[in-house]
């Protein structure tokens, strides 16, 4: 059993925080919030980082029973201001270096390189009592949409994750993912709830310090998106000496079959555990996992529902599919299904709209053993390096920046592809998109086509675009 004198957070920059220290911080934070804020349930915007300040600020907000919206600490000021306008937060918890956000506001509280300020914006709109957390899904595409997660969602999903990953107080995870993503956050929630510990870093697998920390602190687990596991494959992880690192988890998109075989084999040969998982912010974090023993037998599968959850497949008429090996939309039932979305402060008053049922938007099949595999997506988005990119939003950007160009976005989880059917400056388009979406240009391809496929009504036939990806065409 964990005790208060056990280590919770190890931050190479800021030192070690034990569970007692975390509780003390939470109490202090709560007192300062009460003192500086007249609302009994204020809304705080917290800018995230994998540091004591970033994590403790989140934990303290939930502990204080105030609603917290998690944002990236390098969020652009325009996007931040748009969110402030839409949601009228009462408080902001930001790292000191964001002077553009903190301005000259009086600091209600300062700790671990972070500052708490009261916005003095007047919102008399109350927040629903079950609401705990607001998470973005759209990253940098600018949409102000949040997923509304409840205290019950967090409790249930965290408990389930601890159970199937078998996390106990001896585990020590490294923060290999951003805190403002549900996957990264789930690593923090599950390890703290289990009384385990976390090594905090902002470095990635390509950096020396990441590996130094794993060795120095005896890190036992890491989490990654498919791209992380591609990098580790090229870094030849199977030849690295990593005595403490015994558990690897993967989510945030589909892992290539070759890599599933590689990691399944690596894990089997070395007595490690490699967990493929599936989830989305709309389900708090996680819906499914592939038991490590099944990894090599079920290539392409993301497994079975997590403890307490349940899947169903429905056909085009919304009827349940009972046959195996038949495609349908994947529906998930569980206590971790979020309350719904929000696009403005008024939406934060709403109750639970989903009532434990989530239409995942993914098309899937179930095999004879009850294992599921994702075969397609209904919604128009891709996941690049684990981050969701809405193709609708990209189309909006293209319309705004390149109004005279006949184009549409598409692609898969490895590449954003812009199909262009009229003359355009492809290099400028790529550059603009890379800047707007804050992504590396290498993830964008401009594909020139003769025409964009449309039906008689003039609507774009998105499914026909896939055929172009196989063409040679002219790409840049």
């Amino acid at each position: 059993m964990a005790s208060l004198s056990d280590i919770a957070l190890i931050d190479p920059e800021n030192g070690i925080m034990h569970y007692q220290g975390l509780i003390t911080f939470c109490d202090e934070f709560t007192a300062k919030v009460k003192h500086s804020c007249k609302q009994s349930r204020p809304l705080v915007f917290a800018l995230c980082s994998n540091t004591i300040g970033g994590i403790a600020g989140y934990v303290a907000s939930v502990h204080a029973h105030i609603v917290v919206a998690l944002l990236s600490d390098d969020i652009g000021i325009e996007q931040f201001n748009d969110l402030v306008t839409a949601y009228v937060p009462d408080l902001i918890w930001a790292p000191k270096h964001r002077t553009d956000i903190i301005g000259n506001e009086i600091r209600a509280f300062e700790a671990f390189g972070y500052v708490l300020i009261n916005t003095h914006l007047d919102s008399s709109m109350p927040l629903h009592n079950d609401l705990a957390l607001l998470m973005t899904t759209s990253g940098s595409t600018g949409s102000p949409k949040f997923v509304r997660q409840s205290y019950a969602n967090l409790r249930s999903n965290t408990k389930s994750i601890i159970s199937y990953l078998d996390i106990d107080e001896h585990e020590r995870a490294i923060t290999s993912l951003p805190l403002e993503y549900v996957y990264g956050l789930s690593v923090v929630n599950s390890h703290l709830q289990a009384g385990a510990s976390l090594v905090l870093t902002e470095d990635g697998v390509c950096q020396k310090e990441f590996w130094n920390l794993i060795h120095r602190y005896g890190v036992t687990s890491m989490a990654g998106v498919p791209y992380t596991y591609e990098l580790l494959y090229r870094l030849r992880i199977d030849r690295m000496d990593l005595p403490s690192l015994t558990t690897f988890t993967q989510a945030g998109g589909h892992l290539a079959p070759m890599l599933q075989t590689f990691y399944g084999t690596y894990a089997q040969h070395t007595g490690r555990r490699f967990f493929i998982m599936y989830g989305q912010a709309e389900a708090t974090a996680r819906m499914a996992y592939l038991p490590p023993d099944a990894c090599l037998d079920k290539i392409g599968s993301m497994g079975v529902a997590i403890p307490g959850g349940r899947f169903e497949l429905i056909d085009d008429e919304k009827k349940r599919i009972d046959k195996n090996d038949t495609e349908g939309e994947l529906i998930y039932y569980g206590e971790n299904v979020c309350m719904g979305y929000a696009i403005c402060r008024a939406d934060l008053q709403k109750a639970d709209e989903n009532k434990g049922v989530l239409h995942t938007g993914d098309e899937a099949m179930r095999d004879a053993d009850g294992f599921y595999r994702i075969v397609g997506r209904k919604k128009r988005f891709i996941k690049l390096c684990g981050k969701r990119v809405s193709l609708e939003s990209v189309d909006d950007m293209l319309r705004a920046r390149f109004p005279d160009v006949d184009c549409v976005s598409g692609g898969d989880d490895t590449q954003l592809v812009i199909f262009v059917a009229s003359p355009c400056n492809t290099s400028l388009m790529k550059h603009s998109l890379a800047e707007l979406l804050r992504m590396n240009k290498k993830l964008i391809t401009i594909h020139c086509v003769a025409s964009i496929p449309r039906n008689e009504a003039g609507k774009i036939r998105y499914s026909a675009l896939k055929a172009f990806l196989d063409d040679q065409g002219c790409c840049s």
């Binding site: 990635g204 697998v205 390509c206 950096q207 020396k208 590996w211 791209y227 990098l231 090229r234 870094l235 030849r236 992880i237 030849r239 690295m240 390096c385 590396n440 290498k442 993830l443």
Partner: protein, 91 residues
């Protein structure tokens, strides 16, 4: 008819230096004179995607295969040059 010799009669070391700098200059959209100070820490464009691309480009240009420790140690223009030297590349 253009001469079959290079105009400047580069040494192997100068040639490798030019190839190396050109890879960086193209990747980071700058000129060869400005690349010597580039590092993972100071250059926001140098993310993990860029990193793997640089490794692949250097492996191909110099016909070497980076050891994992060197992939991780390669965190700046200068560090990359030292690593290539350790593989016997004159640079």
């Amino acid at each position: 008819m253009p001469s079959s010799h290079s105009d400047t009669d580069e040494t192997q070391s100068e040639k490798n230096d030019r190839i190396y700098s050109t890879i960086f200059a193209e990747e980071f959209e700058t000129n060869r004179e400005s690349v010597s100070g580039l590092s993972m820490e100071s250059t926001s464009m140098w993310d993990s995607l860029e990193h793997m691309y640089l490794i692949a480009a250097l492996e191909e240009a110099f016909d070497v295969v980076f050891e994992p420790e060197d992939v991780i140690a390669f965190d700046s223009f200068k560090a990359g040059r030292d690593i290539l030297r350790s593989y016997g590349i004159e640079i």
